[in-house]
């Protein structure tokens, strides 16, 4: 029961993060929202395992924690290198 409550809270938090990702504005707000959503995903996977009685697949959660980080670094690095090349210091990509 408590797990279900946590799950609902997670889903609500996901939707809120999603709205932020839609609204932006700019690249940074989106990166933040996605990063946050990634954390929620890890927790979702952990909680779903317990909720349906097979909690042994947490490897996926580990992977997400890692990949989320790689993706964030990639976004920062690659968006920058674009701006350096084109020489236009745009404010957050929008």
């Amino acid at each position: 029961m408590i797990l279900l409550v946590v799950m609902v809270a997670l889903l609500v938090a996901m939707i809120l993060a999603l709205l932020r990702a839609f609204l932006g504005p700019g690249l940074y707000n989106r990166i933040l929202a996605i990063n946050n959503f990634g954390t929620k995903t890890v927790l979702f996977i952990a909680v779903v395992g317990f909720l349906f009685g097979r909690p042994e697949f947490l490897d996926i959660g580990i992977l997400y924690a890692l990949v989320n980080f790689v993706a964030t670094v990639a976004v920062l690095r690659l968006t920058h290198y674009k701006e350096l090349l084109s020489g236009s210091g745009s404010k957050g990509g929008e």
Binding site: L3, A9, G26, T39
Partner: protein
Amino acid sequence: MTLIVLDVLSGILLVAGALFLLSGAVGLLRFPDFYTRIHAVGVTDAVGAGLILLGLLLRTTGWETGIRLVIILFFMALTSPTATHILAHAARRDGVRVWRKGDPRR
């Protein structure tokens, strides 16, 4: 007896974690600019996720699941603040402006 204590304790941790997450998410949506939002999220996420993972840890039966939860906790503790840190840093370098009272919300 210990089982009930564990159960209650884990319940408290889970609910507290969920509350943290929710408050962080509301902050992410409602706060006026990037820096206030990253503040809301950066703090609550680490705590909320930590609490939920601890709560789940108290419910595990096998050591295999437990160790994975600990690993997730470790990775999250390592990566999440780092990501927040470089994100805020990069935003400041990039000239994302700080919101002052009276500015329009962005």
